[in-house]
Symmetry: C2
Subunit: 434 residues, 2 copies
């Protein structure tokens, strides 16, 4: 029987994260303070993040040790499987070899715990008692809930009110993991009260939820900090555990990816898979073709500009040099909530700008069609975000069929869609718009 | 770092199922025809099942070969992990060693595909075109949907109408896997039409859905057969893949279970884990203590009689000798839908009657409490059915703490609760009754 799953034992979990900043073609442009427009200092970030994470954010070391206590937790589900999608290959009748790295096996059902766990750990080490954060679709809030539970921290999640109402199961999951979940806008913060005063029926937004979570941390007198689930350098670095494992697993498969594919919202899942391979290339090793897939309704890299912009809607965060559609861009309400962000990780943005990776925008119905094909062959219903990677992988495999080439394609299955079945129901009912 | 997960590679999947019928203390009492009350013949079952499955139902061979095409599919998620619940042990401060076999990693999120896959395979081999079945909570319907998809069969699921309305995500999952799902009672069968004539607003019942699925198969002119997800001998045999893998994994852990625990509705998950170990004991090997956990609201083994009874409400199925609360028993609507069955597998019933295993009835709120403790330590939200096994495992571990004994406890985590979060939400809201 030909091998399907390439598994590593838990003592093969990589012991360092990879920091691509050490190998980038040129230094990253500095973050700028929103008030002074001067480069942000470590002290500027201290109210939000513990020192260890700030140090990682500014680090230029290529390899950063993963603490033993973090590896202890990673062991519950890592190394995640790398799977050869043999049934899918057969259904497509392609000569391509299709692999996927399945991050859906984590407690939250996505890659997000890879950074939630170390973020909780470093905050606990720094004496922090509470972490605040925002969540839209719920993947990040779920991950931070469990991470806080494991390290004895209180977790306060501001969940966009419309999601809070539409996704009670995600909320239930966060509460099962021990978090307190508040619908945003709330009465707990000035930002929330102002929004409610302006519109008592406000459905909320991710930008507003960020403002509430940040305010709650900043006004905590030092007992609470804030946690962010994507975009930042340290977040992408934590996610490189995905690609580092995949490198070992491709060796087990006696293969090497010609094409790497991931969906990109803030860039942490895509970066997590791709950066260790791209780092090889940047250091003179084997080149790879890397494709970041975004929704055509929020085409940050394919249509945005590469410029300084704010991370939030209100313009309170530092400015970063990145691909952006403008911080006041309001993406349409597509089902892949994790991909509805106006900006992009500065690291991914620079690599795109210097042509080390490609970006591709795809419409959601084509992505769900691919998601269904994947589910019917591989037995896993992909998260709406992940269907973007599936679509691109299938398209590349079909291109191989056309050309007769047998390429090796590796994509990141960032998560499962168990909490997003309404999107599939809407797809089958013909209710999805592109 | 002490080891947490005991993994087997896919070429270590057992190549035979174990059939405990070969080793039972006495032969099973025969099934009786509902009309004649004479022992059922193979011909009697031919309208419902293909020959190969009927042969397995009557088989007394101890080991039965698993077809290569079935192993091919098992490889997508099997062998399932055997996990040492180290964080849970620490939280309980128990000297016990707690292991669980995680069947939640399957495409359907439970153990049910272990039998759905071979049932679809044997039907395809026999030239069957369609499979009909019923589903309540949806685990079984989901599993058969995917199995039919893989082997090119049409799958028709009769879903109890109240579940059809309350669990749209389960329905969405079945449709994603390619099944057609019909709310029962339906207009498609005589049984359904009669029920609707009597009560157009009938919420349906599992017994009625069985009647519809059976009728659809019997009246198909041989193109369709029926599939059942528990209770029958061949179903329990297919599930022994769980226990056979666990035996190999306990060797990797250099340990042997003193206590085996599983939740029991129809008995297939419990039997799947326990029977290979109990078979060792029946053949003179090492004894184990096996505990079947049922809900106190449907106490089949702890309160029922051991006698001949029908499998369905209407009295149309063969009579089997089993523990039963009476085929007209209507269990209260508890959240663990998979445990709401008036009867019990004849194999499990006999082993209980002859004291080879214990039965224990537990109230649901205590089970959900244990489920939350498990989720907060092991990162997995158990299905409501599985929380019964978790509760018993925790109770045994706490008994070890009391007595100072360091026992080895292995329980079956039959599935995850991603599609059952409403039960947890109700639990937190104090809405669950015992």
């Amino acid at each position: 029987m030909p091998q399907t799953k390439f598994l590593l034992s838990e003592n093969q979990i990589p012991t360092t994260w990879y920091n691509v900043v050490a190998d980038l073609p040129k230094p990253l442009d500095p973050m700028l303070h929103p008030g002074t427009r001067e480069p942000v200092t470590r002290d500027d970030l201290a109210p939000l993040f513990p020192e260890a994470l700030i140090a990682q954010e500014f680090s230029t070391d290529a390899e950063v040790d993963i603490p033993g206590a973090v590896i202890d937790v990673y062991q519950q589900w890592r190394p995640s499987p790398l799977v050869r999608a043999r049934r899918l290959e057969k259904a497509l009748d392609t000569p391509a070899r299709i692999y996927f790295k399945n991050e859906g096996v984590s407690p939250a059902g996505s890659h997000k715990p890879n950074t939630a766990i170390p973020q909780a750990y470093y905050n606990k080490q720094a004496g922090v008692e509470r972490l605040t954060t925002e969540t839209g679709a719920g993947q990040w809030g779920t991950s931070l809930s469990l991470a806080c539970q494991y390290f004895g921290l209180i977790c306060e999640v501001y969940m966009v009110k419309v999601s809070y109402r539409q996704k009670p199961y995600r909320r239930g999951l966060m509460e099962t993991f021990g978090a307190s979940v508040t619908a945003s806008p709330s009465e707990l913060t000035e930002a929330g009260r102002a929004a409610l005063a302006a519109d008592p029926d406000s459905p909320g937004s991710l930008g507003l939820a960020i403002s509430e979570a940040v305010e709650a941390a900043v006004n905590s007198g030092g007992t609470a900090k804030y946690a962010l689930g994507s975009v930042l350098n340290h977040v992408l670095m934590h996610q490189t555990i995905i690609g580092k494992e995949a490198q070992l697993q491709m060796e087990l498969a006696e293969d090497y990816p010609d094409i790497l594919i991931g969906a990109a919202g803030g860039g942490s899942n895509f970066g997590g898979l791709v950066l260790p391979f791209l780092g090889e290339q940047l250091r003179g090793g084997r080149p790879v073709r890397a494709i970041a897939v975004e929704p055509s309704s929020c085409p940050t890299m394919t249509q945005g500009t590469f410029d300084y912009d704010f991370g939030d809607t209100a313009g309170m965060t530092p400015l970063t040099k990145m691909h952006t559609l403008g911080h006041d861009f309001v993406p349409p309400s597509i089902h892949a909530g994790g991909l509805r962000y106006h900006g992009m990780s500065p690291i991914i943005s620079q690599l795109k700008e210097y042509d080390y990776l490609e970006a591709r925008a795809l419409p959601q119905t084509a992505c769900f069609e691919a998601g269904v094909t994947f589910a019917r062959n591989e037995g896993i219903v992909p998260a709406p975000e992940s269907t973007h990677a599936v679509r691109a992988a299938i398209d590349e495999a079909l291109a191989c069929k056309e050309s007769g080439e047998s390429k090796s394609i590796l994509f990141s299955l960032s998560g499962h869609g168990h909490f997003d079945m309404q999107a599939y129901i809407d797809y089958f009912a013909g209710k999805l718009k592109d």
